[in-house]
Amino acid sequence: MEIKIALAGNPNSGKTTLFNNLTGSRQRVGNWPGVTVEKKEGSLKGTNDVTIQDLPGIYSLSPYSLEEVVSRNYLVNEKPDAILNIVDGTNIERNLYLTTQLLELQIPVVVAVNMIDLVERNGDMIDLNRLAQELGCPVMAISALKGKGTKEVAAKAVEVAKKHQVALIPDIYDKTVVSALSKIQSELQTHIDDSMARWYSVKVFERDERIDEFLKLTDDKKSKIELLIKKVEEALDDDAESIITSQRYDYIGTIVQHAVKKKGSKHELSVSDKIDKIVTNRILALPIFILVMYVVYTIAMGGTSISIGTIGTDWANDVLFGDIVPNFFDGILTSLHVNGVLYGLIMDGIVGGVGAVLGFVPQILVLFLLLSIMEDVGYMSRVAFIMDRIFRRFGLSGKSFIPMLVATGCGVPGIMASRTIEQDRDRKMTIMTTGFIPCGAKMPIIGLFAGAVFGGSSLVATSAFVIGIAAVIISGIILKKFKSFAGEPAPFVMELPAYHLPSAGNVLRATWERGWSFIKRAGTVILLSSIILWFLQGFGFTNGQFGMVEDNNTSLLADIGNAIALIFAPLGWVGDMAWKATVATFTGLIAKEEVVNTFGVLYNFSEVSEEGNEIWTLIAQDFTPIAAYSFMIFNLLCAPCFAAMGAIRREMNNTKWTLAAIGYMCLFAYVSALIVYQLVGLAIGEVAFNFWTIVALALLIGVIYLLFRPGYKPKSEALDLKGMQTAK
């Protein structure tokens, strides 16, 4: 017999951690709510007939959010054999709300009080026996993170599933409600199967429309029930839904009073609260965040003696891919007396191209490691909180920031994370702007230019991140003023998990996951395109004859590139770099690290790289700092890679919106790069005054106008506001 066990619990209570522990799989664990947005399946380690389901975190079974609907549909319609309810032991009161609802489903439930390690450290006491007695179901303490008690709790869940041991219906409501519920129950009798009677009668009592539709009651019955509800409402002087909610809370209150003993008084500030007072401070929060990012980028990509990432990348570029690997292949190829063309293809094309990308692996790993630590410790959820405060002022919800945090690894899951945003307009806007955040694949671009042109400046690297965030905020303000996006931001409820020491497993897993996908792409897509690029740049017309060229500046690829490069001339892409930059921009659509790969191939041609960093020197010769910066901005902000575009299409589910999103990104990138190149270039005396200076100035004024114009106000909400003011 196959057994299905569902993991249900509040957001951030550790469901996925337990899921990974029980199934040995490696789902993403995050220290902020909403990491799991769809259910995931795996089989319990050591068995082959027990399936475990990880569900999205929910606060209740009332369908207030998308995650709640997904979980509720699953639990009610597919009826797992048992529910393993994960309860955050440090926050029992709030977590038990869901528990009481789960118990009413009359599916066997086992309650796992998680984070028991933290509970013990805080010195709190939870009386598990008492809790089990009150709730009428097995209660066990576990630490999903440390793997304590997890096997036992899974075994217990399997046991109750096999015996179909359902909990007694907890004694939650007072007499008036209970008698009404049982009357409703008898009205429903013919419509539902007995085991779910309590759940349905409570839902009907709450006037849940969905259930109404599902039950298809006759009008006669409906009016009878309505009468019953009205009577209770009158007796208790409250509306039905609130009656149920408040009685649930009262019930939980008594249980907690009996079973939980907190050490220290409630008024005492915990360490977390003390830290939060500083890092989420209204004035200091943003500077602290930027400072933290600056330190992160300095360690990962800066040019200082603590920049571990750069030290690793320098070694990879100079020694590994500048010396060891080329010498290795050179040895083999020379001893085999290979033909010059083949030699060039392998050495300049493949080794040069793939090597240029792989050289950045150390910087990327260090960056991801630091970001994962920040996430696991709990700082990133504070950032979402801070961003919510900033975003809200411009009409964006902080919920939009979670996809952006995910996008620092890869834009595709970032764009997908926007699903949980309910309002269409906010979701569309989030999809349109998430691609601005520099993802892992864009890191080599930043690393290359920061290293080659700007002497390893951490400021340049940090600025790439700041530009991404600024692009999101500016776009948010501009777009919100258009009719299609106007409206109040959705409320964003997010509690801040307590800070905790990073867990090595989580951090290393997240780092490796992101790093590995990068390495894998280097061995597949990047390798193939190195070969294709090498051929493309090796052929062209010389004296009217098609054949191999000596100088790739005269290749067919260069001719095509130069023709298209005219579009980018106003951004300062001129001279020998113009076609290379253009080709790199287009290959960057395959995957963003292709940009670096392309430079690797194109700058390796006919150069015997004696010293490792040959490409870097050549790039530094070809790109003026301001042109390099304009190139960087354009490539960070323009259309994302094909995979991300595919994700945009899937999530938008509409061709027009997909094109609008991609078009908007390209336009935004072009305008930003133009303004920076022309105006900053003019200011620092690198670019002379010209026709495009005027265009850039006009565009800047245009952007400022779009930022500050009054914008569209939806009528109904404007009226509401007025109404509220007069009411005061």
């Binding site: 769809e38 995931k40 998308l66 085999l336 290979v338 595709v412 390798l527 193939l528």
Partner: protein
């Protein structure tokens, strides 16, 4: 002779790369560490439908 060997090895590698990329596209597993396969076939939830439902309810 040497050319032939190197060519064969090269073609073999390219073949393997293409095959692995093709497989990955056709049959993406839960998470391969390669984000390009996320949300394709491993995603069974119809979010659009749910969204519509919620809106209707409000």
């Amino acid at each position: 002779m040497g050319d032939v060997i190197v060519l064969i090895v090269l073609v073999l590698i390219i073949g393997l790369v293409i095959r692995s990329m093709y497989r990955q596209r056709k049959n993406p597993k839960e998470c391969t560490g390669d984000c390009t396969t996320c949300g394709t076939s491993s995603c069974k939830v119809d979010w659009d439908l749910i969204r519509k439902d919620i809106r209707e309810q409000k």
